[in-house]
Symmetry: C2
Subunit: 403 residues, 2 copies
């Protein structure tokens, strides 16, 4: 007998019809003799509806009450899922965060699961029951409702899989797995059947919105195999596990891109120790997330140019922060809000020389200008003009044999 | 310093704008130096939305899960109300049923509040905080979420007023009080400024949908004065308290009517002991609520006619139950699904002779045929043809000096 966590995301439980469909998947797994814990998200659209209510009251809505508010969404889905399972003949109960309890640490709207009691649920499972647990939430040591950040139901599922020591954690979603690039814009994109945690982290933080990054991190830390599957098809999904289980015949696993970036260059800034800290500290304090940073070699040893990228909607705040920063002096600011970031990701890259060269050559062949470069062990990212995005992705997808 | 419960119904919290408006009412009461406990309903429409979800899954949706589902509605309003109060400068916290806890007894979807812990909330109140509590719900001894039946937020407010020994319990709603008859159809209807618990019970069970009957019963049992007020106007509302506090210059306080009744007559049924039990027991077992019952005098001592009224949508089920009942024999069944019930209610009636006569004469003057009569100490109800409803109500409202 195998113990499993099945997690259903917002679109998979977006209507009563879909909840009934998800319940049939649970029934099928249960009828194989598996012990099943179901973790559910709020019905799609519900969390946004609740947030729009709170925003109409205040943009700085009380965070404690925000958690009380938002946690209701998964409560609704849990009750409907447990009711649906009972209706189709499966003994099932929903368990609220405080009934288990699921203990969290950290501040309201951004806490993390640290522990949960397993005895009551384990004995229910061994009686053949299916336990349904709302994702995304818990309670603090003080007995307050807490939530674990947007998209946190994936992280809940992984934490529950870890604490209950389940054999697997299956993430049901509206796509049937992780693709080598965005299948909605690049039709030749191929589903990846196996991928490592590291690669998945690079891909998901770069815009492949299949599974939440913090969930992959937790799974990696505790070596919990994840499966991403479609709720709507029977096709095989993507398995995510540790690198040693994967045979790397290809250097590159996937090509990701994001189109909401902007690039800023500070021209003629003094080249002395501490200048980077003076530039980036005020940005961090203003909640501006800096992505890539490139410092040019100083031609005269006195001044240099520093280029960095940020999210496009932080551009105005960034320019304002730089201009009002009297710790640094510079000649001028250059900005470009029509850039995109293209990344090739692959754990096989480490053992395959020439990936970087091959990538740059391919872009040059397409006459695509590279504005900035950043690399890691399993990833190469470049900033290019936004208009060239799809051309670049298609070319890279093809030359790395992903088509 | 006065301790108060302020309860806001579904329409009073039906949108974010209305929640902010209700929060201003709370702020005003709080700034007078009162200690305030706010009890809220689900936003109007939300409970129906949740019920429609559960009904799409099953008409016999699991009752435990139904309580988990429905209780989310008041949770949402509580968080929004506490957030709105904080936004306008009032220290406030929402308290979920399990955080207090509010203990209930009885079965799922139909439990009642038996106790709650008061220390945490009392100390919050004495620090100047406003406590917000979701109505309609509690938890059982086993730690399960329970609800106390449709409209149960009024009952929650009264139970909370009793347990916290507050000086008053103010029910804010979308009408500005209890009227002498239905103001939407009879424009001469007048607001009643003071009414006894008994009269209010007769009026509310007869269709004046201002406050839930079980809440009035609880208030009567513990002598908790209620005030019904409009959320949307500053006008004086209606006070509901014990009879001795009311000066009865008028015999009749109000005229109520309902238009969803049906009348059934069983003709030629055997006139012997136990026949009424044989008729009504199967109806009760089929959840059919019988209202008025009239047994005619048996002309021959052998057979008699029995007339009773039910809700109109129970008519088919009633006829089917009667026809399949082999414990009784009768000649024929007569039915009328176009009847209405008119009631005059007044605690002053007991001390004012001739109310019954005056009522029947008034209806006769209007050529309105009385199909059945039922009386109690403070109420006289008649069944008439539905088409005569408004004519009858207007006439009675006028002759009992209510215009």
């Amino acid at each position: 007998m195998t113990k499993k966590v099945l997690k259903f995301g917002g679109t998979s439980v977006g209507s009563v019809k879909r909840i009934l469909h998800a319940a049939e998947i649970v029934k099928k797994e249960h009828s194989k003799g598996n012990q099943i814990i179901v973790v559910v998200s709020a019905m799609s659209g519900k969390t946004n509806e609740l947030i729009s209510h709170s925003s109409s009251i205040s943009e700085k809505f009380n965070k404690r009450e925000m958690d009380v508010l938002l946690s209701s969404g998964e409560q609704v889905t849990s009750a409907l899922m447990a009711g649906a399972l009972n209706e189709i003949g499966i003994k099932s109960k929903s368990w609220m965060n405080w009934q288990i309890p699921i203990l969290t640490e950290g501040e309201h709207t951004n806490s993390r699961i640290v522990n949960m009691s397993i005895n009551k649920i384990n004995s229910f499972l061994s009686e053949g029951g299916v336990a349904v647990i709302p994702g995304f939430q818990g309670i603090s040591q003080n007995g307050e409702i807490t939530t674990i950040g947007r998209g946190g139901s994936d992280a809940s599922a992984v934490a529950i899989a870890k604490i209950f020591q389940t054999e697997s954690c299956e993430i049901y979603t509206d796509v049937d797995g992780v693709y080598s690039t965005d299948p909605s814009n690049i039709p030749v994109a191929k589903k990846i059947s196996k991928i490592s945690y590291d690669e998945m982290l690079e891909l998901s933080s770069l815009g492949a919105k299949v599974i939440q990054s913090s969930a992959v991190q937790t799974a990696m830390m505790y070596d919990i195999p994840l499966q991403v599957k479609s709720t709507f098809t029977d096709r095989e999904g993507t398995e995510i596990f540790s690198q040693e289980n994967i045979d790397y015949s290809k250097a590159v696993t996937g090509v990701a891109y994001s189109k909401d970036d902007a690039k800023v260059t500070i021209i003629g800034v003094e080249d002395k120790p501490g200048v980077a800290a003076d530039i980036f500290e005020p940005l961090g304090k203003n909640q501006i997330n800096v992505d890539m940073v490139i410092q040019n070699i100083s031609p005269d040893g006195k001044t240099t140019d520093i280029t960095f990228t940020i999210k496009r909607n932080d551009l105005n705040k960034t320019l304002k922060t730089l201009k009002s920063n009297d710790k640094i002096s510079f000649k001028s600011l250059d900005q470009n809000d029509a850039v995109s970031k293209i990344s090739v990701v692959g754990a096989g890259m480490v053992t395959t020389p020439g990936v970087t060269y091959k990538m740059f050559r391919a872009l040059a062949d397409e006459k695509i200008n590279i504005l900035a470069i950043s690399t890691s062990e399993i990833k190469i990212s470049v900033i290019i003009n936004e208009k060239d995005t799809l051309k670049a992705v298609k070319k890279l997808h093809s030359i790395f044999n992903l088509d």
